[in-house]
Assembly symmetry: C2
Homo-oligomer: 412 residues x 2
């Protein structure tokens, strides 16, 4: 029988009633003849509670223990979902990551999936089981310890299962009914997109549009998994939500498809660094080793052999970055006068595959911000996006102004 993967996020399984509602959706697909693999997140709030406890104990914790703790929320939901399906007389059972086994590397808290052996679950489908409920977000390391895939890792789990089982589609059920041109909470003019290209979704995901985890989109693109984002709170047709697909499957689109933002970005500046060859490597090497995800980087013009180096990274990695840099300084590898962390910034980005063939997008973006009196602190660009770091207080204004400027309230 054809396989369908369905993933339910935290708000879609927040309590028993919602798990029942999600199970009903699963039942609809089972009735159509699919063998279904359901990937579940923890009930909303549960993972935050667990993370809160770990951080209360130690901000710089052993990631192996962190993973052992925070993976428990998904296990609970998987068992509950299996029980609800059984009550509906649908043959179902739960799998925890180590039972599949979902094999990952040893990069705890941000592990990468190495392999998903399909034998165990396929054998059960062969015996008449119709739904495998899998705890998302987790796997097992070569050392036999529990790993997690990072926040939002359940999306990645879902896409990886869809790829491993050759699923017809991977439906991501969430609390929004699709991908929007921007966050509707910030701009009332935000419009749902019927389709979006993998590349665009990738930029939007990595820029803080929290609909899908970046890696899940990367995986979907690599294995050409048809990925659909839709709401678990509405009756759904086969055409609902937003389909994330290959560029060639999209007929027409605006130059800019969406405006994304992120509040969880901090700006860090190393003041008065010796401007010598190799200095960038000496700074960003230790940061990479410490697991700091550096995003934007700018280097000031040097004066008298010294320069300022500015970069951005997620706010919750600031402590780790400071530690790595001060250790590198203590070890004599780098030298700087001061290290300033500014967490009062936000990143706003315009994304669109249309940028490849049309110039002037950056100019229009900078002029729009300038007209609103918003100062740009850092700029970064790629082939299909332009990002700026600005004062956090201007974030909403910037998003609204850019959404208007690029005409995103109107379909292409």
């Amino acid at each position: 029988m054809p396989v369908l993967v369905m993933k339910f996020g935290g708000t879609s399984v927040a309590n028993i009633d919602r798990i029942r509602r999600a199970a009903k959706r699963v039942g609809v697909e089972v009735a159509k003849g699919y063998d279904v693999i359901v990937i579940v997140s923890a009930m909303s709030g549960k993972t935050n509670e667990l993370v809160g406890w770990v951080n209360e104990i130690s901000p710089l914790h052993d990631a192996r223990e962190y993973d052992a703790v925070v993976s428990s929320g998904e296990n609970v939901t998987a068992g509950l979902m299996a029980l609800v399906l059984q009550e509906m007389e649908i043959p179902a059972r739960s799998w925890q990551g180590w039972q599949v086994p979902l094999l990952t590397n040893s990069a705890h808290s941000a592990a990468r999936i190495e392999e998903i052996p399909t034998a165990n679950i396929s054998a059960k489908f062969g015996e008449g089981m119709r739904v495998a409920v899998v705890a998302g977000f987790q796997g097992i390391s070569p050392e036999g310890r529990i790993t997690t895939l990072g926040r939002g890792g359940s999306d990645t789990t879902a896409v990886a299962f869809a790829a491993a089982f050759g699923a017809e589609r991977c439906d991501i059920y969430t609390d929004v009914d699709g991908v929007y041109t921007t966050d509707p909470r910030i701009s009332a003019k935000a419009r749902k997109l019927d389709r979006i290209a993998f590349e665009e979704m990738l930029e939007l995901a990595s820029l803080g549009a929290k609909v899908l985890q970046t890696r899940s989109v990367e995986l979907a693109m690599r294995y050409n998994v048809r990925l659909r984002v839709l709401s678990s709170f509405e009756e759904q047709s086969d055409e609902a939500g937003t389909l994330v697909c290959a560029e060639e499957d999209i007929m027409e689109s605006n130059v800019v498809s969406g405006i994304a933002y992120s509040r969880e970005e901090a700006k860090m500046t190393l003041v008065s660094v010796a401007d010598r060859p190799g200095i960038a490597a000496a700074i960003f090497g230790p940061l990479a080793e410490a697991g700091v995800n550096v995003d934007m980087i700018i280097q000031n013009i040097a004066e008298q052999g010294r320069t300022d180096m500015t970069f951005s990274c997620p706010t919750d990695q600031v402590k780790r970055a400071e530690k790595a840099l001060s250790e590198a300084k203590a070890a004599g590898h780098i030298n700087y006068h001061d290290l300033i962390a500014d967490t009062d910034v936000a990143k706003v980005s315009a994304v669109g595959i249309g940028m490849r063939s049309q110039s002037g997008v950056a100019a229009k973006m900078f002029k729009t911000l300038s007209d609103e009196g918003i100062n740009i602190k850092v700029i970064a660009t790629s082939e299909i996006k332009i990002s700026v770091l600005i004062d956090r207080k201007y974030m909403e204004l910037a998003v609204q102004a850019l959404h208007d400027a690029f005409g995103l309230d109107k379909a292409a």
Copy 2:
């Protein structure tokens, strides 16, 4: 290095502060030179929350999924405890049941431990780890699924580890400071015992004195594990709490050591059963198969070839018992006119190894209850205990009266 097992119950790890306090106790033993195996329960309230969800979905649930869900609470505590110990710079790591692996049979929700291979944990002790934090209450079946050992199973886990590792002692930290002659909430005259024999503790545990799980005491007796019950809320010396030990290690004791009670006992009566050879087997066979723990049994005098059969079982197994019996009736294996479940009863018991050598204990017990006007519904006795089923409303009165009658407020 000598091994010590320390078990912390739910109230002893109810929040991060309490986990820190427990970890401090562990630190004291590590400083003495012990390699410590810590067994943890779920934070108090967590297991009940999980059980509540499962029961909300289905009262007659798949026990395999139940186990997968409810075992998660212990995993959380194990990771948190390991993190706290690491913060104290004590080398520690957590183990979930399947990681040890703690091997059990497939009797889900009431699994029995088959084996605890010591290789993994011993190897880590050899590498300098000082504390292995193990999630209690759980194991893994031959089919690779998660099992749980039944409520209170963390005590059993602790004793089993103590036996497997040849531990010097197994300390059970709880919210009471030892074993009492009766529940201090019911009788203000209750007195803490310094020592109690395995056999007595066994009867007390099975009778509802919730200090230790029955099977943990059985195991301790079989492997002669020195078992100590003490409070995690007080500063402790090596002599604190109550030592559960072999009879020969106790110098003097009262004839009766303690008065136990249980509210979670239901009385079930099969009215007008055919009185023929094999009828008891026909009734209690299906109950055993359904996992109903029948405790007391009485059979009325037969009249005209029919009799009434009364038995007691835990209140939460009443539904299961009714189902098993009505199925046996439908299948024609047994025949009865009516099945009456009375959950408004309580069991009160007097326990003491001194009963073996002294007669008249039963008579004294019956007279004491009679003097208080309390009617006895069912009686059961063993070599060292006498139990009676009475109306629940008289339970406290009965406990107090018996505690006085046997002079338990005074040491032997």
